[in-house]
């Protein structure tokens, strides 16, 4: 009846009820174990989970205290575009608009940590949902991560090929709002200057930088997260 999840819930309840206000030191694991009638390891499991969630802060010898400004974290599950579209109940398709090798523009090489002028694979892909433009993907890809012969990105989207074939390790995403460039307006069939949600992503792999992507989302697109 008293598993670690129940103990986590009870501790969380006390914090929310301000029995233990922000900044307060809460009882040690030993004391809580005795109170709940479980082993210390069980209390430890519960408190470790709360610490990972940012609700409490733990330090050896100093004890466990309730976080002052509990950091609110939201998690975004970065979707594979095809599955995102299918999940909305729409038919998925894509068109490869450009595929060439050219030197990386300076800001992009810089963000990936590659030397200026490095030749990179440049791909422009229009993703379609229900036959209509959904996302315009502009991608620079480090050719060093590609096998020989390279995959055919007209058959499998680069997005998906990378997820299944390259071990991505870390990266960052940034969201901004920008007016559609003339190229974006033309390709997506929009008035120039339309407000677009832009996601820019850089990705690092085990063997160095992998890719920089700019995703221009069709008007009305929402990126939703929960916490």
């Amino acid at each position: 009846m008293t598993g670690w999840e129940e103990i986590r819930a009870e501790v969380l309840r006390r914090i929310r009820a301000r029995d233990w206000p922000p900044g307060a030191l809460i009882p040690g694991e030993e004391a809580l174990a005795e109170e709940f009638g479980v082993a210390r390891a069980t209390v430890n499991r519960a408190l470790t989970a709360l610490a990972e969630a940012g609700v409490i802060e733990r330090r050896k010898r100093a004890g466990t205290r309730v976080a002052e400004l509990p950091v609110r974290r939201a998690r975004l599950e970065i979707p594979v575009i095809r599955l995102d579209v299918l999940g909305r109940g729409l038919a998925y398709g894509f068109k490869l608009l450009a595929d060439r090798v050219e030197p990386a523009p300076v800001p992009i090489a810089a963000r990936l940590g590659l030397p200026e002028g490095q030749p990179m694979r440049y791909l422009e892909t229009l993703h379609l949902a229900g036959g209509r433009p959904f996302v315009l993907e502009t991608r620079w890809l480090n050719p060093a991560v590609l096998p020989d012969p390279p995959p055919d990105f007209a058959a499998v989207s680069a997005n998906e090929w990378l997820v299944t074939h390259v071990s991505l390790v870390s990266g960052d995403i940034a969201f901004t709002a920008e007016p559609a460039t003339p190229r974006e307006a033309e390709v997506m069939g929009l008035a120039p200057g339309t407000a677009l949600l832009i996601a820019e992503r850089t990705t690092q792999g085990v063997a160095g930088p992998v890719t920089f992507v700019r995703l221009a989302h069709a008007p009305g697109h929402r990126v939703a997260m929960t916490f």
Copy 2:
């Protein structure tokens, strides 16, 4: 020398090296424990961490397999606006532009799960960074969560008051790009129709819905996340 973190790292290495390709069943905890010369609980700790990270999928009796499409999760730490501004090395300030009680617009009441026509506190706050408009915050606040007498939101921004005084439990955020409304353009000193990054957030507390906020960010604003 062989703690759970090292075991986690070694298992992750094998997955990345495709010793265990996506979809493959990996050896059971017992077998791994024997191989690494540790107790099963130690292997369990390592695999539990990898499962939380989305790298593997575990089911009782069926065993542990490498995730086919490892879900990439990015974490966003939702900032208190004041600290966000200060963190950019700019002076923070805010102006309370509106503060009144009025019935909630239908879509907003619906998103919070409150009855239509429910009277709510409406607040409009312009946050300033270095004296320039940074974010226009439009907020509907459930008066049931406020103490009596209610706090003075001209002195402490609602944003900050809520973080420190209400136990927020769950919610969601969505990002969109929208052209500035006439009101937004006027208040922020922009041309109407300027592309703005909009964040909409609903928050639920222990005692019911708390607040709906719309944040209109000044042009050029980036919301960055890492994974």
